[in-house]
Each structure stands twice: as structure tokens, then as C-alpha cells.
Symmetry: C2
Subunit: 422 residues, 2 copies
């Protein structure tokens, strides 16, 4: 083992330029939703060269649409293939899924970017571009780990299943399709941008829209109307209280350093059309965080009960009840015991490479780990080289050093988990 570790380390050191180049060409391709194919093509060719068994398919929306975990507003996935590439083991070891998503969020305001958003520019050890951190850096780290094993002639007993999926940013249809196609394993690593922290638990989340009804009137006689804005303030304050109550119940030490473990974020409020009219309608849209230890449904019921209480206690709401709609994105929470063998092997590998213990926390956002663990019954750890704060931001970048370190940690974990075939 010790010898193999040294060989892996050596190979990764010698192939840094190669790894940086792979990440660069991945980042230079725009793989926003609907445009994933050219980036997938690069990965397909890479995996073909590595001699992996390829499975490339387009998701059939018809097949998935009735699954309870399916949450997607896309009509067709034509031209946006999912990719699974398997490094077959010799048999007898545990299998491992290495999962990453190839879709990236939109560029946003281009004027906020210093370089072109898909430049892949390297400066002072940083590689810039949309997707560099979230999460093409993680994908490159996984592939470099696999390549290092192959290059060093190390054979694994268990299968290593590399996945490059679409649709993570929009609710996880890509990973759900892979799970339903049969891809499950004894463990999985998803190298989302964790700042090299290890997340055995992930916050789930979903979007809500609350409709608040008022009664219109002229602003000069506003007492004849009922302001949907004033009523919305009541709702906002009630949601703030709900957030406080829900978070007070979180005792998991993994959340100890997180100010609000499962936030209720009010992201959008829209009401009224005319300054001198009393608004008769307001909509409040937001994102509700879901604890790793509760279900999406339980969290939804808690918020619904809150609104129901308001509908019973407030005279106006009794006649004009608040309505809630769970729309758009939804990300299942995920949870793995901190002492699970996968955590142990990953932590040991981390210590081996970095000579210190990893920071273990719960993630503040959902990942495809929710679907993989809940639907796919696969133990999942989130650990990756990207910078949490840079995800979705302008001037997104990644530290290349972290990509190679993560690569080494993943390679060592694969050797420990899948076992080496002598």
C-alpha cells in the first residue's frame, strides 16, 4: 500500500500540466443547461482513451416523470446525454461511484466578469471560468485519480463508476436517471465545491410560493382596502419565527459552526401595480432548507401548518386564505453516519495526503447526494476542491493545487475502499 501511495503521488506530481489542461478545455466549453453535449464529448473521449466501459444515453422524460423524486421543468433531454464510464474491478471489492455534474449555472451579468466567463484563464495558480469550481474542477480531480491508478498499473477489486450527469443545478434529473438505470454502489463521492471539507450530511431544499390576497382601494382612502403588502409582512415575520423554531431543534454537532443550519430564504416579493392603489395581491417566493434528518414532506407540512394557523387565527385570512405552492427546484437532503466506513476511509486518505484531519460539517445546500443516497440507497460523502463562495458567482475560479490534492485523496480512498487486486 505504502509503495502504491508513493507511485500515485509521483504520477500526479508529474502530470499536473496534463490535469490543468483537461480542466481548462472543460471550462472553455459552455455547458449551461441544454448546451452540455460538447463538454460531455470531451469526457467521453477521455474515458474511451482510458479504456473505461462507456454508457451514454439521453434521459427519457416520459420514463422518469412519475417518479416522486423527479422535479424538472425540461420537456426534452435530446442532445444532452448522461455519461457513465466504468473501470471494472477484478471482483470481490466494494464498488464506488464518483459522481459529478457537468451542467453549470448561467453566467449572469457578463459585465461583472473580469475575463470572458468561459476563458479557462490560469493566473497565479487559479483557473478562472464558469464551472471551474462548480464542479468541473471536481470532475477533473476524479478523472485524474482514475488515470493515476491505471497509469501506475494498480488494479482495483471493486468497480469504480465515474458519472458525468446533467441537470444537477435544476433538481437532479441526471443522477435520478442514472440511479434508475441501475447504477448503485457501496459508496459514492461527489466532489462538489466544499473548500476541501467533508460533508457526510447535506441540507435539502425546495422552493415555495405563497400567495397573499388583499382588497384594492384608492390610496387616499386606503382604510377601505386591505393591503396585500401589510399582510405579507405578517407572513414574512411568521416565516422568520418558523425558521428560528426549526433551527433551535437542530442539535447535530456538524451544524455547530453554521449560524442558520436550515434557513428559510425569502428570495422574491412582488406586490402592487400602482403607487396610489392599495395592492390586492402579493406573491412571496423562497427556498426552504430541509434538515438531513427530516424528509422533504415533513418540512413542507411544517410550513403548511404555519400558514394554516394564520388562516385560522387572522380574520382576513379566514375569508381569504393564504395559499402555498411548492414549485420549481427541489433537492433531497442526504445523510451518512459520521462513523460510516466510507467516512473513515476518506478521512484516513485525507490525513495521509494533507497530514491533518479534515473539517467535517453539514453542507448548506442540496446536492445529487440526496437522490443517490435516498433513491439509490448508496452511502454518499461530499468532498471536493472547489471554493464554496465562488460557486454561481462572477469571476468563479478554483485553486489548481486543491484539484491535485483532492485527486490524490480520491485515488487513495479508491484503493482503500475498492481494495487493490495484487
Amino acid at each position: 500500500m505504502e509503495k502504491n501511495i508513493i507511485r500515485i503521488r509521483q504520477w500526479l506530481k508529474e502530470n499536473r500540466a496534463r490535469g490543468a489542461r483537461l480542466l481548462q478545455i472543460l471550462v472553455r466549453e459552455n455547458s449551461t443547461r441544454g448546451n452540455e453535449s460538447s463538454t460531455q464529448a470531451i469526457l467521453i473521449e477521455k474515458c474511451r482513451q482510458l479504456g473505461l466501459d462507456l454508457d451514454i444515453w439521453e434521459i427519457d422524460a416520459e420514463e422518469l416523470k412519475n417518479h416522486p423524486a423527479y422535479c424538472c421543468d425540461r420537456q426534452s433531454f435530446e442532445g444532452s446525454p448522461n455519461l457513465v464510464a466504468v473501470l471494472k474491478g477484478t471482483g470481490g471489492g466494494k464498488s464506488m461511484i464518483l459522481n459529478g455534474h457537468i451542467d453549470v449555472v448561467p453566467v449572469g451579468d457578463e459585465k461583472s466578469w473580469e475575463h470572458d466567463a468561459f476563458s479557462g484563464k490560469i493566473e497565479c495558480g487559479k483557473l478562472f471560468g464558469r464551472g471551474s469550481t462548480d464542479m468541473k474542477g471536481g470532475i477533473a480531480a476524479m478523472l485524474m485519480a482514475i488515470e493515476s491508478l491505471i497509469a501506475c498499473g494498480i488494479k482495483l477489486k471493486g468497480d469504480c463508476i465515474f458519472q458525468s450527469v446533467i441537470e444537477e443545478e435544476s433538481g437532479g434529473a441526471g443522477t435520478l436517471a442514472a440511479v434508475l438505470r441501475g447504477y448503485r454502489a457501496d459508496g459514492a463521492i461527489i466532489p462538489e465545491p466544499t473548500n476541501m471539507k467533508v460533508f457526510p450530511k447535506q441540507q435539502g431544499s425546495m422552493w415555495f410560493r405563497i400567495t397573499v390576497i388583499g382588497r384594492a382601494a384608492h390610496g387616499g382612502t386606503r382604510y377601505e382596502g386591505v393591503s396585500a403588502i401589510e399582510k405579507s409582512v405578517m407572513v414574512i415575520e411568521r416565516l422568520q419565527k418558523l425558521e428560528k423554531d426549526r433551527n433551535a431543534k437542530i442539535t447535530d454537532p456538524l451544524f455547530a459552526k453554521i449560524p442558520i443550519p436550515i434557513p428559510i430564504n425569502i428570495g422574491k416579493v412582488s406586490s402592487g401595480q400602482w403607487p396610489s392603489s392599495v395592492p390586492d395581491l402579493a406573491t412571496i417566493e423562497g427556498r426552504m432548507g430541509v434538515s438531513p434528518d427530516e424528509s422533504i414532506q415533513a418540512a413542507q407540512k411544517e410550513m403548511e401548518a404555519c400558514l394554516q394557523e394564520m388562516n385560522e387565527q387572522d380574520e382576513w385570512f379566514r375569508e381569504h386564505p393564504l395559499a402555498i405552492e411548492w414549485f420549481g427546484g427541489r433537492w433531497l437532503p442526504g445523510s451518512l453516519e459520521v462513523d460510516h466506513a466510507l467516512m473513515t476511509e476518506l478521512s484516513n486518505s485525507f490525513v495521509e495526503v494533507l497530514e491533518k484531519s479534515p473539517i467535517i460539517e453539514a453542507s448548506p445546500w442540496g446536492t445529487d447526494g440526496g437522490i443517490l443516497s435516498t433513491v439509490g440507497n448508496t452511502p454518499v460523502v461530499i468532498f471536493g476542491p472547489g471554493i464554496t463562495e465562488m460557486a454561481h458567482d462572477a469571476n468563479e475560479y478554483i485553486q489548481l493545487e486543491d484539484v491535485f490534492v483532492a485527486s490524490e485523496v480520491i485515488a487513495l480512498t479508491l484503493m482503500r475502499w475498492c481494495e487493490i487486486s495484487e
Copy 2:
């Protein structure tokens, strides 16, 4: 005098059909902003037949634009004439302006109207259509009053100056132009829809837009951001307190029956673009009521001081101050002493016709009376036959009976105010 009153009453009774027909053809013309000319043409022809001295002109925006009371987003008034028609007195009496606006607000949702919005349909003594109440009914009442005097051969000593102006609904450029053209008088009646109440005082108003800055963040780590929505709730609550404080200072008995004499109406709130992001910007738009006893500027200063206080006391606002903009509509307040001679003469006429005292209140909205009294230095009373609640509403109508009663009250007031030349 007694004899003249009887003759006027008799003539009005005999000419009800004539008055209803006049109002009907006025309502059947769409005189929304920019489309006033065909309705003005009917009035011009009517005034010509009555033998009044006509003054018809298009407002010159260039001439008005630097006047402090000018508040208008219209570039040109071409094709939308103002009309002033004078019944010259024999000399020696007090002059009276009878002012009405010919512009009407948009129809709104046509599906909400039972009949065509410009039907002029008469059913059970009600005449339906946009503008019937606000305020073509008042214009018809004024013209019938003038016609009754002429028809009965009653000559006035003072001038009676009939005005049909444009732009009242958009800030009063029509009346301002008439004032600056030289039309001032010893008194004025504006028959806006008061439910036959008498309003010596009128609430002024103006629009504001407050910009609230936040700091964006991912909803899952919302504690890293500053929500522009949460900050807006603070602003809304502060404005509610300001409204309370301002109204607590109102002691005028004319406001005794009005729950909120000078409301601050928050008509529009808009913040955020994405449910799972912390919003970094919010705008709050509304209408601030102005007391008849204060100036627009004083009211503005009071709200600005409030925001200034928040900008000093709140840590976030100190770095990211609230900004206020006074945009769009602005209506000057108006105020006349309750014991002014014009009030006395109008009240006496009211008692003469209706055998009861009028209800005297302050108006919950601004009228052209603000400009006429403040800029034109002309004492103004608002009194008219329209139905306050129907103004700007779908299925707007007016009770024809009220039009004729208001006509008689106006005719009697003219005889008392301008005096009869024997």
C-alpha cells in the same frame, strides 16, 4: 331673488332630458389622455351656442416646464386643447370660476364592465360610463346652471368663467396653464365627485420611490448576505409609524370622520429575482398624503428625515443608505376657511335646494383646487354630484337626479356670489 330661484328651478325641471342628453354625448366620447379633442369639441359648440366668450388653446409644455407646480410626463399637448368660456358680467360683482376636467382615467379591464365602458346607457336614473362620475356629470351640471341663468334672462354682475381642462388625472397641467394664462377669480367651484358633500379642504399627495440595498448570497447560506426584503420590512414599519404620527397631529374637525386623514399608502413592493438567492435590491413605491395645512415640501422633508434617521441609526444603512425619489404624480393640497364667504353662499344655496345642511369634510384626494388656490390665489370649494366610490372604478355611473340638484345649487350660488344685475 325668491322669484329668480323659482324660475331657475322650473327651467331645470323642464330641461332634465336636455341635461341628460348633454351628459350622455359627453360620456360616449372617449376622452382618456391624448384623446380629449372630440369631447372638447362638443363643449366648445355648446358654449358657442350659449354665446360665451371662447378661449381655446393648446398648452405649450416649454412655457410651463420650469414652473414649480408643473408635474407632467407628457411631451406635447397637440390636439388636446384647453377650453375657457366666459359669461361676461355687467360689472361690479364678484367673479367665479367653474372648473372641471375633461380627461378620464383608462377603462381598466374591459371584462369588468357590464356595458361598454363608453355606453352612456341610462337605467333607473343612473347614467353609466367612464367619466360619468369623474367628472363629466359635474361639467354637465355647471353648463346646465349657466344655461338656466341665460334662459331665464338672469344677468350676473360678476364674470362666470367656465373651464374644461385637460390633465387633471396626471397632475394638473391643464388648470396650471389656465392660471398662468391669467384666469383667476374671486371664487371657484370644482364639481368633482364628492357625493354632494362640500370639501373646503383637499388632501394633497405625491408619489415616492424608496430604494433599499441588500447584499446577495446563496439562500442556503443566507446569513452571509443582507436581505433587501428584511430591510424593506423595517422601512415599511417605519413608514407606518410616520403615518400614525402625522395623523395624530391632525385636529381639524373636517377630518373627524376620516379614519386616516392623510394616509401613506405603500402601493408597490418589488424585490428579488430568484427564490434561493438573498435579494440585494428592493424598491418600495407609494403615495404620501399631504395635509391641507402643510406644503408638499414640508411633507417630503418629514419622510426624508425619517429615512435619514434610519440611515444614521442602522449599521447597514449607514454604509448603504436608503434613497428616496419623488417621481410621477403630485397634487397640491388646497384649503379654504370653513367660514369663508364662498362656503357661506354655497351652503346657503345647498340648504335652499335640499332643505338640509351640507356635509362639510376634507377630501381624501387631491384636485385641481390645489393649483387653483395655491398658484392662482383663488378661493376654491369642491362640490359635485358624482359618486366618490365609483371614480376610477369599473361600471362607473352617476345618479342623474344629483346632476340636476347640483346644477340648481351652482346656479343659486352664482346668483348670490356674482350678484344679479337688475
